[in-house]
Symmetry: C2
Subunit: 220 residues, 2 copies
DNA sequence: CCCCGAAACCTCCAAGTGGAGATTTTCGTC
DNA sequence: GACGAAAATCTCCACTTGGAGGTTTCGGGG
């Protein structure tokens, strides 16, 4: 039982005095995963306006109210979809990096892989729209934390690598730029219909990386 | 009367045979503007989910159905809000540019000025989330056109200026990057609460412009 | 196997939504 | 001023939405 009252698969079984439940149902975790799986499908198909708790519940095969047991609100559910996606993306690109284990490489890879799934790009963008107006809300808090963490990690890596010796403000700016460009290019690329459009995602992002790496004073 | 059936202030009065209306009411244009004005206020306050035709109608002081006379749908209304904003922003930064009349300067200025109004950033971002999933929809079509136009203009300017002689693919990539970074940085900046957060919008965007301007082979 | 109680899920409800068709307002013409 | 008709606006309606409280399911313990 997590602190927000919703059930997660990671929590230790609750110990109750005497008779009674010692933990979640056996099917809890798989149900929760299924909800998240169906939610992104519904989102990708119907967009943010069409993704009600009822629409998701229908896709899962339960009532909308059943979802509330796992997630306190639609927003919380969608944020969790995003969080899970982010975790998987990191895992995935890290595993693929092999010995080319720099932030720049990981970022470029993550950008391309994420863009391949418009649903996630759209979800991230929709949450961003919400978070921009309400950084203290569920979506906002998640994104604030997420971007801070990412900027921090990227900056650390740049500072010990390609941008060693540069002022920390410059390193911070580059980290912010890398994330910003990733988001913005993915959106433009998808608007252009993907591979055959006017935006070449890989080449454009690669150019930014090149600009950073060839800046005067940057480590070769 | 425009082609989509909604009333715009730009159309020439309709000429009808014999008796009957020769044009819109005297108050049509001001009403339409008022709807757009109230819509962005409602959006900024309540976010995309809270901005129904009813909420906007209430803010204007008319029924939700009255809005339908001017705009066929909520999406069309919000796209028009965005369009109007874009036009004003271009007008504004152009007027302020004086003799420093390059895309880079205009872009930097527009980025900062736009970010000062979170409602518009959020609206643009929300429309982007919709457009990414449905580039053929109302929001998507507008954004596709808008970005293409912007990339084209920026590329033209770069090609005759700071990036003269560079390959056209590189110029196109830079144009896409400049727009992407502008969007992404504004969002991060707002998530961070604006001026006192971890992201320095002006400095970060300035760094990108600097990177482009100091690239090997770029015109000093 | 039975009991118990919390986990999981449901139905009903009130509130909100956009659309259809009815009604009111405006204004050009005579 | 009267008339007519389109512009502008309204009310009513069916449908959708999330929440509250009721019901069913599951599994630990005896």
């Amino acid at each position: 039982m997590s602190s927000d009252g919703s059930v997660t698969g990671d929590d230790e079984a609750v110990r109750t005095a005497g008779r009674g439940r010692r933990g979640p149902y056996a099917k809890s975790e798989s149900r929760r995963e299924e909800i998240l799986d169906r939610a992104i499908e519904v989102f990708a198909e119907r967009g943010v306006d069409g993704t009600s708790m009822r629409a998701i519940g229908e896709a899962v095969g339960v009532s909308h109210a059943a979802l509330k047991h796992y997630f306190p609100s639609r927003e919380a559910l969608l944020v969790e979809v995003l969080r899970r996606r982010e975790a998987r993306l990191v895992e995935d690109v890290t595993a693929r990096a092999g010995d080319d284990f720099t932030s720049l490489r990981l970022l470029a890879d993550a950008t391309v892989r994420n863009a391949a799934e418009p649903g996630f790009v759209a979800l991230h963008t929709a949450m961003l729209a919400t978070g921009v107006l309400d950084p203290d809300g569920e979506a906002g808090e998640h994104l604030v934390a997420r971007y801070r963490e990412a900027r921090g990690r990227i900056a650390d890596d740049l500072a010990t690598g390609v941008m060693a010796g540069r002022p920390i403000t410059e390193v911070a700016d580059v980290a912010a730029l890398l994330l910003a460009a990733s988001d913005g290019l993915q959106a433009q690329w998808l608007l252009e219909g993907g591979t055959n459009g006017d935006v070449d995602l890989v080449r454009s992002y690669g150019l930014l990386i090149d600009l950073i790496g060839t800046r005067r004073g940057a480590q070769g």
